[in-house]
């Protein structure tokens, strides 16, 4: 049973609270929570912790802390998953998440929280259903309300006026342009050791869909190479039997944006970038030489390459210069950030220079780990390809869009 939810700003102030049970939880619990945080040197405490009076579950999104309290035993994932849903619904509704946006829209936030949970148990959490009950505060209706002086978030059609056969979709959805988009988003985790060998490399992927289709469309989606998927998770609308039998995604989509499936691909062999660091230190100075280059051909250009070099505390200052891109150094965090962008055809990026160590320290004792970021538009690094998408049970022929993008999630280079 979740008793209440507090939204906290990045300074620890209560932005708003919502109590779901008769027994109120005092706000003082928030200051207790914030003290824990400061005791951990402003690191986020574990997502489930016990206070003297309650169990606290929390997540942090865009600097806003969603803090739920319970006094009873409960499945922790139920609470955390719910908080994640709340955060994504609010972000979706308000077009962003921060203290100001939440304060400006506190009425709608209350409305949403009221529908998403009832007496401590999650109720309506499906975004498309919520949108039937509470209209999002879009720009048009805001302008309208100013011009005409009529109420903004009152929905024209009353909710659930018509009954539907599937709980995630109303039966009377109508769009003038029928279209559906699929985004394949893959995130890559890789670790390289100091000799440049791959210690581990895998990808986590999601298919995010945005559906604007009228009626009750029956969709089926097949992949050219579904066998590479190591494990899959589906939105409740997906029929599992069809997947099991034919590796086909068969579903009636919810209206709007939703996460159709997520998957994991193990043991990838083709990390797109290599980074070769050389560090040698002595007499209070550390010489640095870092090379970055493409490893094979990922098929599409690798963009937004960025290398973060967090230095150990014994480093006092840096003097580094790149052959391509720019490098900045933050004194407070001791991180050098090398922004490369795209690798030029004629030059290979190289960062070289020296680090000044603390007086009394001769050589670097710790081995820093470099973190690499990049983005590849138009391809999924796992090689997953959509074969075809069919639509049945409707008259029209919708516009279908597919996109793929690969990002680095945790791409680590050890030195």
């Amino acid at each position: 049973m979740i008793q209440c939810l507090f939204l906290l700003s990045d300074a620890g102030d209560v932005i708003l609270e919502k109590q779901w049970m008769g027994k109120r939880v005092e706000r003082s619990i928030c200051s207790w929570f914030w003290r824990q945080r400061s005791e951990m040197e402003d690191q986020d405490p574990p997502s489930v912790i016990a206070s003297p009076t309650h169990y606290l579950l929390h997540i942090v999104r865009e600097g806003v802390t969603f803090l739920a309290c319970t006094a009873s035993e409960m499945p922790p994932l139920l609470g955390i998953e719910f908080l994640c849903k709340v955060a994504s619904v609010l972000e979706n509704y308000l077009g962003g998440l921060n203290e100001d946006i939440l304060k400006d829209n506190f009425v709608i936030v209350y409305e949403i929280l009221d529908e998403m949970m009832d007496s401590g148990f999650p109720s309506t959490t499906e975004p498309s259903v919520l949108k039937e009950i509470i209209a999002p505060p879009n720009l048009v209706s805001r302008v309208l309300s100013v011009v005409t002086g009529t109420s903004s978030s009152l929905n024209a059609a009353s909710p659930l006026a018509t009954s539907s056969q599937v709980s995630w979709r109303a039966s009377n959805v109508k769009h003038s342009n029928n279209e559906i988009y699929f985004d394949l988003v893959e995130e890559m985790d890789a670790v390289f050791n100091r000799d440049g060998f791959v210690v581990k490399c895998e990808a986590y992927g999601e298919i995010q869909a945005t559906s604007r289709l009228s009626g009750m469309p029956e969709l089926s989606l097949t992949f050219a190479n579904a066998d590479i998927l190591h494990d899959v998770n589906f939105h409740p609308c997906v029929r599992y039997r069809a997947w099991e039998a034919d590796q086909m995604l068969s579903f009636i989509p919810p209206d709007g944006a939703f996460k159709l499936m997520s998957y994991r691909v193990k043991g990838l062999k083709n990390p797109p970038l290599f980074v070769r660091p050389q560090l040698s230190s002595g007499e209070g100075i550390c010489r640095v030489n870092v090379l970055v280059g493409l490893r094979g051909d990922p098929g599409k250009p690798v963009d937004a390459i960025i290398v973060q070099l967090p230095w150990p505390p014994s480093v006092v200052s840096t003097n580094l210069s790149p052959s391509v891109g720019t490098v900045t150094y933050s004194f407070s965090t001791k991180v050098s950030t090398w922004i490369i962008g795209r690798i030029p055809k004629d030059k290979s990026p190289c960062l070289s220079g020296t680090l000044q160590l603390e007086p009394g320290i001769n050589r670097l004792e710790e081995f820093p780990t470099f973190l690499v970021g990049f983005k590849i538009q138009g391809t999924a690094v796992s090689g997953l390809k959509v074969d075809k998408m069919d639509i049945r049970n409707v008259e029209y022929r919708p516009y279908k869009g597919f996109r793929a993008v690969t990002r680095a999630a945790s791409y680590e280079i050890r030195t």
Partner: protein, 809 residues
């Protein structure tokens, strides 16, 4: 401050008068003004200012068609109705009126607020509105009404029955035209699961719920959240035969692929619980659930993956071998928070085997070079633990010794402690280790544990280290500066040991150490100093045989968390216990233990005939411990304010003490020998046992003793219990035999009892026997585990217990 609050008071008074003017006004634009005023009030409420004084004005103004104003008003009323019971009637009138509104949204919202007030006296008003709303033509209203039935049930269950709301709900869950309403009715039915009792009281709750939901194969018709509830119930279901187990698992298998992690975890719990007594299938289940769990971990949200990792950690600890090929998943990400890294390092330690050891130790060595000191320490400890657990330590020893060359103080300190343990287990490596340890500068070590380890090695291997006496000498010279008694004790012993081996060089050293020890402010150090002194007076030979007898290699070091505790937590899979790594009875308040129950001050006032059966409903043990007061008639000491979760109890054993249970060693013998008294004790006569007729033991102490004592004896014994339907008859029978019941639960054909008894002539609070007894009525046998505080009487007690069981008819 005063000026500020005065200012605020003024503002509230102004709001009040403005609201007054608006009430009843129909002027154009009034709705807009109202909305702004309401917004202001709510925003005051949001930042924590008490605006309850506006209550009547807010309600009076609420006659409006503006939905947003309505919602704000309901929010306000819900917040303050409790504080203003005198105004509650006014509120109810206004909400009831809104329940008749033309707009279905307002009808629904008003009904929800009405139901949420949860005021006992107004049940009659609620019933009327609910009855109407359950038949509303709008799905949203019916949905809210279904939820309302649940709320009514919690304040007045009888009202639900009398008005046939149950039957209405039951028909709604299959016949309502709207899929969402059907889903909601189901959720409500699951949440007040006792509804099923009243209809067919002959069936037990487990079988009924299990049969009902599984037979209807309808799990997909529940909302994803309600699925968690259903799955939780299914996990308590005991299948009739293995076929049914497989049926259920087949039906639920696709739930492992659900995008909601709560559903996945609940499903995993079902799989684990159903197969717990089928060893090979249980193992296959582990293989099946591995992939979904690992996917959840990589799903991006760090909060979620922490909670999932905690569960995975539990599984890995139970069956490390099954995960030994997945070790790469437990490699730490650079960006992982420290608490996640710690978990992962523990898992890496657990899954290390001969085949993956090299990779894992290499990976851990990377962490040892980490900037985060805490993680560095964990990583080094992990390497040491792996070395102690596996036989092939060749490569690991080199690695550990390399750590010593890293010249970072805390790395050296951690490593020294480990090297000490290592040479205790593998004496054959001592030569290589000592060679490197000898190079460590004793000046660079500050931590007491590391210092003690180094001193121990100096004393133990002084024959391998030429300069050992001189290093120790410098330590003894700084005796007064040494803060830690642990180090001083170790120093004294080392001085004595080295004296036995190299007397000419170290006689002065020992003398100085003894003198310093005898003057030491610490009692232990002082006592040991005197003790050594007197021993030496008995002759060097005698002293050496006691202070430094030949040692055997340690075969196993004590495990920190005992496996029983782990099993207990495993039973509570998918709960907070897993994250705290303690069974819930150790950290949860009694009143909060029940899963999914309402914890509201408005407790049910009607006593239902079904309440007796509640225990079946809950976790067997938890439910049972709640009941023990009424059943055993034992005077039960107050458990104290348990509401605060307890912090993990400190481990009693230090880092490297071999497991010795105090009760196993007749301590008096050793001391007598040492003192040279040489009294020969005749073997004790076979003990005769008389049990106390009124033993006193409260449940907290029982649990503590139960978790501390080893199982002294376990056996199976026939019992004629075919006719046993409740636990009561056996309880009374055992009571007559001076065996009291601490807790009991279960239903035919399996009951579980916790008994205890006490020796009649024992001191108060000692001489207890604790028994866990599982009775299988159909098989006609009882599985019994006995734990005993006095091992000499274990056999006598179990004979008594057996005869008591045999005489039960």
């Amino acid at each position: 401050m005063n000026a500020d609050s005065g200012h605020r008071k003024g503002e509230i008074a102004e709001l009040k008068s403005q609201l007054r003017q608006l009430a009843g006004s129909r002027a154009p634009g009034v709705e807009e003004v109202k909305r702004e005023l309401y917004k202001k009030v709510i925003s005051y409420m949001t930042i924590g200012i008490d605006v309850s004084s506006l209550f009547s004005e807010m309600v009076m103004c609420s006659a409006t068609s503006d939905l947003v104003v309505k919602k704000m008003c309901y929010l306000y009323v819900g917040n303050y109705a409790k504080v203003h019971p005198d105004l509650a009637l006014l509120t109810i009138n206004f909400l009831q009126r809104d329940c008749q509104d033309d707009d279905p949204m307002i009808r629904g919202l008003a009904l929800r607020s009405l139901c949420s007030l949860r005021v006992m006296n107004f049940v009659e008003y609620l019933v009327g509105s609910l009855r109407k709303a359950l038949k509303d033509n709008n799905g949203y209203v019916r949905q809210v009404a279904a939820m309302g039935v649940l709320k009514l049930y919690h304040i007045a269950p009888t009202a639900c029955i009398e008005n046939d709301f149950v039957a209405t709900l039951k028909s709604m869950l299959s016949q309502d035209p709207d899929a969402q309403v059907r889903e909601w009715s189901r959720t409500v039915c699951v949440r007040c699961k006792r509804f099923w009792f009243w209809r067919e009281p002959t069936m037990t709750v487990q079988t009924k719920i299990g049969r009902y939901y599984i037979a209807s194969k309808s799990i997909k018709d529940f909302s994803e959240w309600a699925q968690c509830l259903v799955l939780d119930m299914v996990s308590k279901y005991i299948p009739v035969d293995p076929n049914e187990t497989f049926d259920i698992m087949n039906l639920l298998e696709d739930r492992l692929q659900h995008s909601n992690s709560a559903v996945v975890l609940a499903t995993i719990k079902v799989f684990l619980q159903l197969t717990i007594s089928m060893a090979d299938v249980h193992q296959q289940v582990y293989e099946r659930i591995k992939a979904p769990l690992l996917t959840l971990i990589s799903s991006g949200s760090p909060e979620l993956s922490y909670a999932v990792l905690s569960h995975l950690h539990l599984l890995v600890m139970r069956a490390p071998i099954l995960f030994s090929s997945d070790y790469k998943h437990f490699y730490c990400r650079y960006s992982d928070p420290s608490y996640v890294k710690k978990l992962k390092i523990e898992m890496l330690t657990a899954v290390a085997s001969e085949s993956n050891m090299y990779e894992i130790v290499t990976e851990l060595s990377e962490y040892a070079a980490n900037v985060d000191v805490g993680i560095t320490r964990e990583a080094i400890r992990a390497v040491g633990k792996i070395a102690l657990n596996l036989c092939d330590v060749n490569a690991i020893v080199d690695r550990l010794l390399q750590f010593l060359e890293m010249e970072r103080d805390y790395v050296t300190a951690e490593t020294l402690v480990l090297v000490k343990d290592l040479v205790r287990k593998y004496p054959e490596w001592s030569h290589d280790c000592i060679a490197v340890v000898g190079n460590v500068s004793s000046k660079s070590i500050q931590e007491p544990k590391a210092k003690a380890a180094l001193i121990w090695m100096l004393g133990e291997y002084s024959h391998d280290m030429l300069d050992a006496p001189y290093v120790l000498e410098s330590f003894v010279d700084n005796w007064l500066e040494e803060d830690s008694p642990e180090v001083r004790l170790e120093l004294l012993t080392a001085a004595a040991k080295i004296f036995f081996k190299r007397p000419p060089e170290s006689q002065k050293l020992l003398g100085a150490a003894l003198a310093a020890a005898v003057d030491d402010p610490d009692q232990d150090v002082h006592d040991r100093g005197l003790f050594y002194y007197r021993l030496l007076q008995q002759g060097v030979q005698t002293a050496e045989s006691i202070v430094n007898p030949p040692k055997k290699a340690v075969s196993d070091f004590a495990d920190i968390q005992n496996s029983e505790m782990r099993d207990r937590i495993f039973d509570e899979f998918n709960s907070l216990s897993v994250i705290y790594r303690e069974p819930s009875y150790m950290f949860l308040d009694k009143e909060h233990r029940k899963l999914y129950e309402f914890s509201d001050e408005a407790a049910p006032t009607d006593v239902l005939p079904t309440q007796k059966l509640d225990a079946n409903d809950n976790d067997l043990l938890l439910g049972a411990f709640d009941k023990e007061e009424s059943q055993s008639g034992v005077s039960n000491g107050d458990d104290g304010p348990l509401s605060a979760p307890r912090s993990p109890s400190p481990t009693l054993l230090g880092d490297s003490v071999p497991p010795v249970s105090a009760s196993n060693i007749p301590a008096a013998f050793g001391i007598d020998d040492l003192l040279g008294l040489n009294i020969s004790t005749p073997p004790p006569p076979p003990p005769s046992l008389v049990l106390s007729s009124k033993p006193v033991l409260d449940s907290g102490t029982f649990q503590k003793k139960w978790s501390q004592l080893p199982v002294a004896l376990s056996f199976e014994h026939p019992i004629s219990a075919q006719s046993l339907k409740t636990t009561q008859p056996l309880l009374r029978h055992m009571q007559e035999k001076s065996v009291q019941c601490m807790a009991s639960g279960g239903q035919s054909p399996t009951f579980k009892f916790f008994f205890f008894a006490q020796k009649a002539d024992g001191m108060p609070g000692t001489g207890f026997f604790l028994v866990e007894c599982l009775v299988h009525t159909s098989a006609g046998k009882a599985s019994v585990k006995v734990k005993s505080e006095d091992s000499t009487f274990t056999a006598a007690f179990s004979d008594l217990f057996k005869s008591a069981l045999s005489s039960f008819m």
